[in-house]
């Protein structure tokens, strides 16, 4: 099951996602670190000299949803951005330690951040459709095939349709694929961004507070989508909303001041936290 991913610069072929697995209750219970997808070891990330996360070692299982919760400024987003090497795009940033995804060390010698990001999709807090592109070209934006060449056209259309289906947006946009992405509502734009991230068939999807700017109904749709995604892809979701973490995730990590306090099955973390700080946070005593 543990297919390694290619992260050297020349890699252009995106390996197939592993066979879908039923997300039954038992499967969720067995979503334990025995089938690891992401392993961080002694991971620290800095802005200048200030550490945003300190010495985080954790294991994220395959084909499960792992939530990262914690108060504002605790380093949730930074931790997420270390998993697809986005942290290093900021000025004066530095990453220490190792991250392994499906057996490949993504910070190893000779690895390319660009190649890593093709396997690890990301969706941001605010929807970020490309405003000058149509719905179709937005979804196809991450594909390397040139959408203008006729040979690739059929293939691209198929991938676009599939990605929109998976993002639960197909029925709403199938008749207006050539319209500007800006004609969609905020919630639709966010699902479009999820479709865009799925189109390249990544092995991991990172969601950085994906519902923070959405209304409750759109939030619910995105949550349902996240819940379904686990069947085919490993999901890590950052959220400041504990109910959301409880609703969508299999495992939850609690981060405080850059340190990983606790990582446990979501149920256990919310009902019987091991660490007093976790308990203080989830019962609303701070943060």
């Amino acid at each position: 099951m543990l297919q390694s991913i290619e992260v050297s610069p020349g890699a252009r072929v995106i390996p197939r996602v592993v066979a879908p697995r039923a997300a039954s209750a038992e499967a969720r219970e067995t979503a334990t670190p025995e089938k690891p997808c992401i392993i961080t070891s002694h991971l620290s990330a800095f802005f200048g000299d200030a550490p945003a996360i300190k010495d985080v070692s954790m294991v994220v299982p395959q084909q499960a949803v792992t939530a990262i919760i914690g108060p504002s400024g605790c380093g949730k987003s930074t931790l997420l951005r270390c998993i697809n090497r986005m942290h290093e795009t900021g000025p004066n940033t530095r990453v220490d330690g190792q991250v392994e995804i499906l057996g490949s060390a993504i910070y190893g010698d000779g690895t390319s951040a660009t190649a890593v990001r093709r396997h690890v999709g990301m969706v941001f807090q605010r929807p970020t459709p490309f405003p000058t592109m149509s719905i179709r070209t937005n979804v196809a934006a991450g594909l390397r095939a040139d959408p203008r060449s006729r040979l690739a056209q059929e293939n691209v259309d198929e991938i676009v349709e599939k990605a929109l289906h998976r993002a639960g947006l197909w029925e709403e946009v199938k008749d207006r694929l050539n319209e500007s992405a800006m004609t969609l509502s905020g919630g639709q734009q966010q699902r479009l961004c999820i479709a865009r991230a799925l189109a390249t068939r990544p092995r991991v999807i990172l969601l950085d507070e994906p519902t923070a700017s959405l209304d409750p109904l759109s939030t619910q749709k995105v949550e349902e989508l996240v819940y379904d995604l686990r069947e085919t892809v490993t999901v890590v979701i950052v959220t400041h909303n504990m109910q959301q973490a409880a609703r969508v995730s299999d495992r939850t990590a609690f981060l405080l001041a850059g340190e990983l306090i606790e990582l446990a099955p979501t149920n256990a973390l919310f009902t019987a936290p091991m660490d007093p700080r976790t308990e203080a946070y989830i019962t609303g005593r701070f943060g």
Binding site: M86, R117, R118, M122, F130, P131, T132, M182
Partner: protein
């Protein structure tokens, strides 16, 4: 006044101040409104003066002032076609040369430049806009024209064998349409570059991150996310540069050769509307000559107006699709 029953316990007997004479606000409003009205009034007054002065020439010469190439002051024939042609061609040439260079500079400064280099290079590019045009003209006469005559023109014509095309054929005098285009390119470059740099820097970080997160290389990010986002602003910058090129007088007059001929060759001397006016206004003694020069001015005015309108339209076209 009806008596209001006093509350049982009244402790505060001070009256509220609810009247205020906002005289300062009124003065401020009147002064700024007056300022705002002066500008359009000036534009309209100038336009009326020019068109009124040009009217005798338009009514007497008719369309021939635009279509004829015959400008003979003593014979009373005033055909400004070569000058109109020269203005359009030299400006187009300037844009062809300046645009890639200016956008290249802007992309470097906004995307690739180390922070410490951004300020000095940006400052130097902006400085190009501050050099007086007569200084460009002098540099053109003493440096650019000899360089074109002795190096660039023979190279283009003979080495690259472009002499076979009508555009690069004929003797290399030096003062030429090409010289005017190059000078104008240098003068338009800072405008295009400064505007492009600003709009590129204004592209939100979220757009760049969205592209990078999809596995785009830096170049793919610039091509697919940054430039499309900034396109309308860049076009605005190009149009600003075009406006500058169309109206530029002194430097062009000094290097273009001032010969009223229409030639396909960029090596041949030419004329522009602005240089025509600058060369002849002091010796325009007859009424018709004066009026003809004003008519040329009016045509230049209208062309500039059209360019601005087209620019507005282009920017609107490009940006209307998105509600950001």
């Amino acid at each position: 006044m009806t008596a209001v029953p006093a509350p049982a316990v009244s402790t505060d007997r001070r009256r509220l101040t609810v009247h205020e004479t906002a005289i300062g606000d009124r003065i401020y409003e009147i002064v700024t409104t007056a300022c705002a009205l002066v500008v359009p009034a000036l534009v309209i007054a100038i336009a009326i003066a020019i068109f009124a002065g040009a009217w005798p020439a338009f009514s007497k010469l008719g369309l021939s002032i635009v279509t004829s190439s015959d400008w003979d002051v003593r014979a009373g024939r005033f055909g400004a076609a070569p000058a109109i042609f020269g203005t359009l061609v030299s400006s187009a040439l300037a844009l062809i040369i300046a645009t890639p260079l200016a956008i290249g500079v802007a992309i470097f400064l906004s995307e690739f430049s180390p922070t410490w280099l951004r300020q000095p290079i940006g400052f130097l590019v902006d400085l190009l806009a501050a050099v007086p045009s007569v200084v460009y003209g002098l540099w053109g006469i003493f440096v650019l024209v000899p360089l074109l005559r002795e190096q660039v023109m023979p190279f283009l014509r003979d080495r690259l064998h472009l002499g076979a095309t009508p555009f690069f054929s004929g003797p290399a005098y030096g003062p030429s349409m090409l010289a005017a285009g190059v000078i104008l390119a240098i003068m338009a470059l800072p405008y295009i570059s400064a505007v492009s740099r600003e709009v590129l820097m204004a592209v939100p970080r979220s757009q760049r991150e969205a592209a990078l997160a999809l596995g785009a290389t830096r170049w793919e990010m610039i091509r697919d996310a940054v430039i499309p986002y900034a396109k309308s602003g860049i076009i605005g910058g190009i149009m600003l540069g075009l406006g500058r090129a169309l109206g530029e007088t002194m430097a062009v007059t000094m290097v273009i050769g001032n010969r009223a001929e229409i030639s396909a060759s960029l090596f041949a001397p030419g004329y522009t509307m602005a240089s025509l006016i600058a060369n002849q206004f002091s010796e325009a003694t007859s009424d018709l000559h004066q009026s003809a020069l004003l008519a040329v001015g009016a045509i230049l005015f209208v062309i500039t107006l059209i360019v601005n309108a087209v620019a507005r339209w282009l920017v609107w076209q490009v940006s209307r699709d998105r509600a950001v």
